[in-house]
């Protein structure tokens, strides 16, 4: 059963991974035009209610749910119901997709050309496709791809077309709409557009949720959306959003559908198209607004080699099995189902738990290339490594990663040094290789004079680009690394001391990494198990003891998380030293950035990752959660009030000056 697979502890070595097929191989052999015009007969949902896109709109507008909300909004605002209906209709026009096979065929043709240029191969797990084929017929399907690149959803539609699967409708952010022609093209290929924020807008929410639910209930098409909400600029999975997940699960909760199949899809890139773009964005170098001309300029990317791309379709997860014993569906019995109901506390908890687990499945199924290992090592050695030593360490790390269950795509029958040099070649723009010595460094800087600040930023772009590869494998090392760090800072070997430290770090970093709330014991045990299996630790009844050979592994693991630790410390120090009483939320990121920059320029900080706005945001969110900082609304400004004592002690604990103890935790 799907749920069992979802909740089972990982036994990585036992899990059989599916075989991949390179879909570009076929494309390189036969005509793209014929491919684009081929007969497309997708397998369909057995409960399909046939309906056209235009019909869909009127079904939504006439639905009891929307009519109810329209009346409610009209009586609250005093506007006539006709006016509100009109508004709803406009919202729907702005939102709705108009999926057309002809547009898909156009994309099938052009993307074939583009993909062949960009990628060496696009590998898809065939068994996943077969499972999906099955799932699509049984129940309405929701596709949940990871989101690392604009390419993701184009690729998804392209793949589904290739495999004769029904084309999905995709929830996309409104920002695409501003790209004139492209927005419309995307709309015709099945994208529907939602505003980024519509918190209190009842009418908008009603139109949106009814639109999605109607498509789902009628089995109109698979719904595709990104659990993470937006592209991850760091290649770390983002904390999932539950809003849309709730919408697609509600028809099951309310008995309108027997079940819904959620299919997590992991898309990984050997080299990400937006790599340096993301790094610049994280450093606050403003991102160009999405525009068609911008996209055209990006044509340059077409001339580069982006290696391989992997798409792994995970096992369908049945919402019914997921909810079994967790959701009491009869809670919906006493209210007519068209009346919107806020999810109850336990529903909320369920949604969040499910979302986290789905993201973890995405993570686990993410194919990793040797380069992520190399990137990890290079980041830990800013002064660079000799090629031979790099190869040796990569090999060591490879075995560690495999033992921890990494889904590593390591070429068979190739010497390690061979693999390393191939990887280095693909990512040469981030490296300098001279006399057998490899180092991360800036390669394409104009030779004009640069200010020290600029130099720091240039280097930071390289570091952050590289970090985005290391981040792909973080989920593999995360739990053992937290344990390693906890052991370092604990003042004894006692198991509960270590656990306290572990739990503290888990709390601090729960905005940074995917750590399911409430799983801390499970995570701790998993970390112990993995390290014990590796012979690094001995876990006794009350004690955890490092074995003689374990030192290097523990040292490696804790330095994996070191940049984050340092980054959070920088944020702490900034908050303690900042004297501005009226620090607004908006000013926070630039202020921390310049604070970190100063430290780097002064030579007091070596960690460029502290400049990343993503890290700074996550740190702030963590401190808010831990109540070391709180938000105060003054007029239309949100200011941050810092509890300096609390922040100070946080910094101390993070710096390992004070071991974690219960009382301090309590005070936080």
């Amino acid at each position: 059963m799907a749920s069992r697979a979802l909740y089972s502890p990982r036994h990585p070595m036992l899990k059989k991974r599916d075989d991949f097929e390179d879909i570009l191989e076929e494309r390189r052999r036969s005509s793209d035009l014929r491919y684009a015009l081929r007969c497309y007969t997708p397998t369909l949902y057995r409960g399909l209610v046939p309906c056209k896109a235009s019909m869909l709109k009127s079904i939504v507008l006439q639905s009891d749910h929307l009519q109810y909300v329209i009346k409610q909004v009209s009586s609250e605002s005093g506007e006539s119901t006709e006016g509100v209906s009109e508004e709803a209709s406009l919202i729907l026009d702005e939102m709705a997709h108009c999926l057309q096979l002809s547009t898909i065929r156009f994309f099938a043709f052009t993307l074939s050309k583009a993909f062949k240029r960009l990628f060496r191969s696009v590998c898809v797990n065939e068994e996943g496709i077969q499972r999906l084929q099955q799932a699509v017929q049984e129940h309405p399907v929701v596709l949940l791809p990871s989101h690392r690149s604009y390419m993701d959803f184009l690729m998804m539609s392209y793949l589904l077309y290739t495999y004769d699967l029904p084309l999905p409708v995709i929830a996309a952010g409104m920002d695409f709409m501003s790209m004139k022609f492209v927005g419309e093209m995307l709309r015709m290929s099945g994208a529907f557009f939602i505003r980024r924020s519509f918190g209190g807008d009842k009418l908008y929410w009603a139109v949106f949720s009814e639109y999605v639910k109607t498509m789902l209930r009628n089995g109109y098409a698979p719904i595709e959306f990104f659990l993470e909400g937006t592209r991850s600029r760091t290649c770390k999975s983002l904390t999932p959003k539950t809003g849309l997940l709730n919408i697609v699960m509600e028809p099951f909760f309310k008995g309108e559908l027997f079940d819904v199949n959620l299919v997590p899809v992991s898309i990984s890139y050997e080299r990400i198209l937006e790599e340096s773009l993301y790094a610049r964005e994280l450093l606050g170098i403003p991102k160009p607004k999405e525009s068609t001309s911008g996209l055209l300029k990006a044509r340059r990317v077409l001339s580069e080699d982006y290696g391989s791309m992997y798409v792994y379709f995970g096992h369908p997860v049945s919402v019914r099995s997921l909810a079994e014993g967790k959701i009491n569906r009869s809670q919906y019995n006493l209210l007519p189902r068209y009346i919107p109901q806020k999810p109850s506390a336990d529903t909320h908890e369920f949604l969040s738990d499910a979302a986290f687990r789905l993201v973890r499945i995405q993570e686990e199924n993410m194919v990793l290339k040797p380069w992520v290992l190399i990137a990890t090592l290079l980041l830990q050695n800013p002064d660079g490594l000799d090629l031979s030593s790099l190869a040796e360490q990569t090999d060591w790390l490879r075995h560690l990663a495999l033992a921890f269950g990494a889904f590593l795509d390591w070429p068979d029958h190739e010497a390690c040094s061979e693999v390393v040099s191939c990887s280095l070649a693909l990512h040469r723009h981030l490296l300098s290789v001279s006399a057998g010595h490899v180092q991360l460094s800036v390669t394409d800087v104009p030779q004009v004079e640069t200010t020290p600040e600029e130099a720091v930023f240039h280097q930071a772009v390289v570091v952050l680009s590289c970090a985005s590869y290391r981040n792909q494998i973080l989920h593999v090392f995360l739990r053992p690394a937290l344990l390693a760090m906890a052991m370092q800072s604990a003042n004894s070997n006692r198991k509960d001391d270590v656990y306290n430290g572990f739990n503290f770090l888990r709390k601090v970093f729960s905005n940074e990494f995917i750590l399911c709330p409430g799983d801390s014991v499970q995570d701790f045990e998993e970390a112990c198990y993995l390290l014990m299996k590796r012979g690094v630790l001995q876990v006794l009844e009350h004690e955890i003891v490092m074995s003689a050979s374990g030192h290097s592994t523990l040292a490696f693991l804790s330095s994996v998380l070191d940049p984050f630790l340092q980054g959070y410390q920088v944020v702490c120090r900034y908050l303690c030293e900042e004297t501005n009483e009226n620090l607004t939320e908006k000013e926070f990121i630039p202020a921390v950035r310049s604070f970190a920059l100063k430290l780097i320029l002064a030579g007091r900080l070596k960690c460029y990752e502290a400049l990343s706005s993503d890290l700074q945001k996550n740190a702030l969110a963590a401190f808010l959660r831990l109540k070391a900082v709180r938000k105060v609304k003054v007029g239309d400004q949100v200011t941050l009030k810092v509890n300096k004592v609390a922040v100070n002690s946080l910094e101390d604990i993070l710096g390992g000056k004070i071991p974690t103890q219960k009382p301090i935790l309590a005070r936080l």
């Binding site: 008995g255 309108e256 027997f258 009491n328 569906r329 009869s330 919906y332 019995n333 007519p336 189902r337």
Partner: protein, 625 residues
């Protein structure tokens, strides 16, 4: 519309047909009802429609009369034996194919029942001697014959009948006692209290909620109180249109005797051949014609019940009272936990002048439900309106008797062609509503037109009286069919619920699918029969009835699997806004959900009533609470 276009002559024929109908009654003896209370107790039991020794005319390990059963004859054709029913003696040519096709069953693979009761399997009675002696001294008819006791140890749940067929006998009552009138019951209850024995009232024995099962933890002597001999109509009041009846009377006898006087109650649950008036009251029964006559709670004017605390009854026959909570509602649905219903005053109506069956074919179930909803909205439901889903429609079709002439079969073919080819109905989606109209002739015809007009708006086509009548027949023979299935490795049962209109479709789909899925997960080899019909309409919702059966070859504990699936189906019903039961009751089978259904406080209320009325737990059948 066949029926509308038919000529007056045809109509006359139809009416004549109706007057000859009710073949199930043809054979029943119309015995003169004397006051047995005063008669000597040695009166031969065969003089009453339900003898004390039920096993003489009824199956000990299956449904209904011993002479009536389905079997596959030597040619492999299904036939129904006996003379009691319309189907009796007829060949059903298409049943075999349907049976084999639906269940993957095979006539070569038989699972016959133990032919006769093995008396040594029945544990010797645990008698409370002083109690038995006092009973005998009071002149009551008592038995501890094993056959009598086994017969009253079960209802008709699958697990009960399955165990009997395998010859497995669990705890059975130790004594059976037959009171003849209210006073007898008072005596029995008084003695039971005195000697602290457990009383389990027994009416028609048609329970499908494990209500008659002897609680395993009961250590006292268990006495089955069989009300079947309390079966007289005590008086009929034509001025107020009421009848006062002893509660042991069974449905068919009550209706027949009233009919002889020109009246009826109109209460016709599917079990009416065997179920008793007292049983209806104790389970809140519902009859198929409730749209005209009401359910049992609408029909009763007065109830007399003997409890350990004494007799509970109202002081007058006023049609409605505002005297605090209605005490009838403590009795209705009490499932034998508070006392024995002994006499009931019921509303009666003159026998309707005219009765007419009908049917409508819909292209799919959704349309059918929409039509029923509209009929309910306009409050113009006929005496009965039921909507069968496609699977049940096909099931009903398989029960078509051999046609007598080429002409009829040609007509059938033509009809089928018209509906599937000309009208484009998909034979795998279409479904049928069966109708029964009742009243004076003019109004029935007018009513009929109104309903068919509504149906037409939802794509419904009138499909003749025959289909309608066969639909109702199915409900009377379904329990016999289950016995046939059990001869060939097929087990099954029915269960029901009530649900608001807007959830009917979702509930039907989800529950059927849940059944299919649970069966698959539990290793059932062939897809089960999982089918439903909407059997009653109300202003705010409908009653839905499910049939569920599967082929159990290759399963080591089929009954356990059956129970797990039914349990899952019930959970699904509750999760989809359905009720715990519309009319079968709770018994012991559905007890676990009572608290969730009526809230902790609600359950506490019921418990405190039980505690006051029966502190010694004399009525210890363990139902409901």
């Amino acid at each position: 519309m066949a029926s509308n276009s038919s000529s007056a002559q045809q109509r006359l024929r139809i009416i004549a047909g109706h007057l000859q109908k009710r073949p199930e009654e043809e054979n029943a003896s119309v015995a003169a009802q004397e006051c047995k209370a005063e008669a000597p107790r040695s009166e031969p039991s065969s003089a009453t429609p339900v003898p004390r020794r039920r096993q003489e005319i009824m199956k000990w390990n299956g449904w209904g009369y011993s002479d009536s059963r389905f079997l596959f004859n030597k040619k492999g054709q299904a036939e129904f034996t006996g003379k009691r029913y319309r189907l009796s003696g007829l060949i059903l040519p298409s049943l075999k194919d349907w049976f084999e096709g639906t269940f993957g069953a095979n006539l070569q693979h038989r699972s016959p029942a133990t032919p006769s009761l093995n008396l040594s399997a029945v544990a010797p009675p645990h008698l409370n001697q002083p109690f038995v002696e006092d009973l005998k001294a009071a002149g009551l008819s008592v038995s501890h014959d094993p056959e009598d006791r086994v017969f009253r140890a079960h209802g008709h749940c699958l697990h009960e009948v399955f165990a009997l067929r395998e010859g497995r006998i669990g705890r059975v009552p130790d004594v059976v006692v037959w009171p003849s009138c209210h006073n007898d019951v008072e005596k029995i209850v008084e003695l039971a209290c005195k000697h602290n024995v457990c009383l389990i009232p027994y009416g028609g024995g048609t329970s499908v909620s494990s209500a008659l099962e002897c609680p395993r933890e009961e250590t006292r002597s268990i006495v089955s109180l069989d009300t079947s001999q309390m079966n007289r109509i005590l008086w009929i009041d034509e001025k107020n249109l009421t009848a006062h009846v002893e509660a042991g009377i069974i449905g068919q006898d009550l209706e027949r005797q009233l009919n002889e006087r020109g009246y009826c109650t109109g209460h016709e649950p599917d079990s009416m051949e065997f179920s008793s008036l007292g049983g209806w009251v104790a389970t809140r029964a519902s009859g198929m014609k409730k749209n005209i006559y009401g359910n049992i709670e609408d029909l009763v004017v007065h109830i007399k019940m003997v409890t350990p605390r004494g007799v509970i009854e109202k002081s007058c026959l006023g049609p409605r009272m505002s005297t605090g909570p209605d005490i009838h509602h403590f009795i209705l649905g009490s499932e034998g936990t508070l006392g024995v219903v002994t006499e009931v005053t019921l509303k009666i109506r003159p026998v309707p002048e005219y009765q007419k069956y009908g049917s409508v074919v819909f292209p799919n179930f959704q349309q059918g439900v929409a039509c029923l909803r509209e009929v309910a909205r306009q409050r113009c439901a006929p005496a009965s309106i039921r909507l069968m889903d496609n699977e049940q429609f096909q099931f009903g079709h398989a029960l078509k008797p051999q046609v007598s002439s080429i002409f009829t079969s040609f007509l059938d073919g033509l009809k089928k062609f018209y509906i599937t080819k000309f009208k484009g109905f998909d034979p795998h989606h279409l479904c049928v509503a069966t109708l029964l109209f009742e009243g004076d002739r003019g109004k029935v015809l007018q009513h009929e037109k109104q309903v068919y007009d509504i149906a037409a708006k939802f794509g419904g086509l009138a499909a003749g009286e025959d289909n309608g009548q066969r639909g109702y027949m199915l409900t009377f023979v379904i329990a016999y069919l289950r016995d046939l299935g059990m001869d060939y490795y097929v087990i099954g049962e029915s269960f029901e619920t009530s649900v608001p209109w807007d959830r009917v479709l979702d509930l039907c789909r989800n529950v059927k699918e849940r059944i299919v899925r649970e069966c698959k997960e539990r290793g059932v080899q062939f897809p089960p029969l999982s089918t439903c019909r909407v059997t009653q309409t109300y202003d705010a919702g409908a009653c839905v009835y499910f049939y569920f059966a599967f082929n159990y070859r290759g399963l080591s504990d089929p009954v356990h699997i059956y129970e797990q699936v039914e349990h899952a189906a019930r959970e699904e019903i509750l999760a989809n806004g359905g009720s715990l039961s519309h009319h079968h009751g709770v018994g012991k089978l559905r007890k676990e959900w009572m608290k969730a259904s009526v809230s902790g406080v609600g359950l506490g209320m019921l418990k405190s009533v039980k505690e006051y009325v029966d502190p010694q737990n004399i009525f210890g059948n363990g139902n409901l609470l």
